[in-house]
Amino acid sequence: MKLGEESLFPAHELAMRGDRGFEFENVALPHTARLLRYALHLVGEKGRAEDLVQETLLSAWRNFQQFKRGTNCKAWLFRILTNLHYKQMRRSAQRPEVHVEAQEARLAAPEKVSTGQEMREAFARLTFEHREVLQLAVIEGFEIREIAELLQVPQGTVMSRLSRARASLRAALAGGGNL
């Protein structure tokens, strides 16, 4: 189903849910695909990622009255998803350790245009932390400030991670191994 093109609920159900249902559908549910992409990155497995997104949406639905109209719903949903994920990780004590690999920043140069498949493979070889910051900044379009808030790190850390992540991606595209 493509988001934003058709109603996510049958009309009679939306009518039963009233304005709140319409608003949630228009403001929150269009971010489902983004949430699922990020959840896949966090948990790595489709079934668990879908469960995490479902719990995120249910939590958002239950607490939708706390969401301030006009503020950034995408950031709000990602915050819920991240909190739920870390809560689950704490419960199962499985939070993956993030290895920060210091990498030499490569001098950026226009690269040969890679195919989508090559790019996805190169991206998959990056460290968790590099994939995370590239996903949030480049793919999901979060601002540096929002990423810092979501990951609970200073903005400077986000920017330096991004810089290293781009360098790693270039190295991966150039044929490097696991980065």
Binding site: T32, R120, R166
Partner: protein, 251 residues
């Protein structure tokens, strides 16, 4: 702006957050510095290529949305597990149990303390003979009873154990509460009955029983609608428990 400071603002520029004066300075520098312009162009192309590649690989959200829809459409009783998390439910159960059990433990402990105090008073009064302020003459005893229990007629007849006779009475303090301490004698055996007109703490002394209150004394507590008290005597010599039960019925 120089080449080093471009690096500091590059991510803000690429994410569209760079505004105002800094933005103007960067643009000016990029016009003048081919190396930096190339670096910015390279990062932007890399970002675009990554975004395109990752978004080409679409994710199917239909299963998630179907399950979400199903969950929120479910009747409220089916949503209880999600409304109340298991951990919260467990905490609530523990709290409820604690609220039920702790007052009982507290009351039980209070009853035991009071029974020990009664046994101690009995021992001091009748073995150590520490007090002399007893009312012993019949008219003094009658006056005492009328003053302390004006609403209870024939109180003495009600509380005198079978085959026993009243010996004396005095006011005493048990853990800060004033009790009338009646002493009855059956041959050489003395039995104490401690009476309080209104229970100070409501539910106390309901059928409590302390087999060993020290010095070989047994204590049994009782309670009625407007009276509470304890019976104390030598364990094995006086039917303490049955006297207390009888008082609970007759008073």
């Amino acid at each position: 702006m120089n080449c080093d400071s471009v690096h500091d603002v590059l991510d803000l520029y690429l994410s569209g957050e760079l505004k105002g004066e800094k933005m103007a300075e960067l643009r000016l520098h990029l016009q003048e510095c081919e190396r930096c312009a190339m670096a910015v162009r390279a990062d932007r192309e890399l970002d675009n290529a990554l975004r395109t590649a990752m978004l080409e690989d679409t994710v199917d959200v239909s299963a998630v949305l179907a399950r979400f829809h199903e969950r929120i459409a479910a009747p409220w009783w089916k949503r209880i597990p999600q409304l109340v998390s298991v951990r919260r439910a467990a905490i609530a159960v523990i709290l409820v149990i604690a609220l039920i059990v702790f007052p009982r433990l507290y009351v039980g402990q209070a009853q035991r303390n009071m029974a020990l105090a009664a046994a101690g008073d009995h021992y001091e009064d009748l073995v150590l003979l520490r007090h002399s302020d007893w009312e012993q003459k019949p008219e003094d005893v009658t006056r005492f009873v009328q003053a302390q229990f004006p609403q209870k007629h024939h109180l003495l007849a009600s509380i005198t154990p079978d085959g026993a006779s009243l010996e004396k009475v005095r006011l005493c303090k048990l853990r800060g509460t004033s009790y009338a301490h009646f002493v009855f004698r059956t041959g050489t055996v003395e039995t104490s009955v401690y009476l309080l007109a209104k229970p100070a703490d409501g539910a106390s002394y309901q059928a409590s029983h302390l087999r060993d209150g020290g010095h070989g004394l047994e204590v049994a507590g009782f309670s009625t609608a407007d009276m509470s008290g304890m019976v104390v005597g030598q364990h094995g010599f006086v039917p303490i428990l049955s006297i207390a039960r009888q008082l609970a019925q007759t008073l």
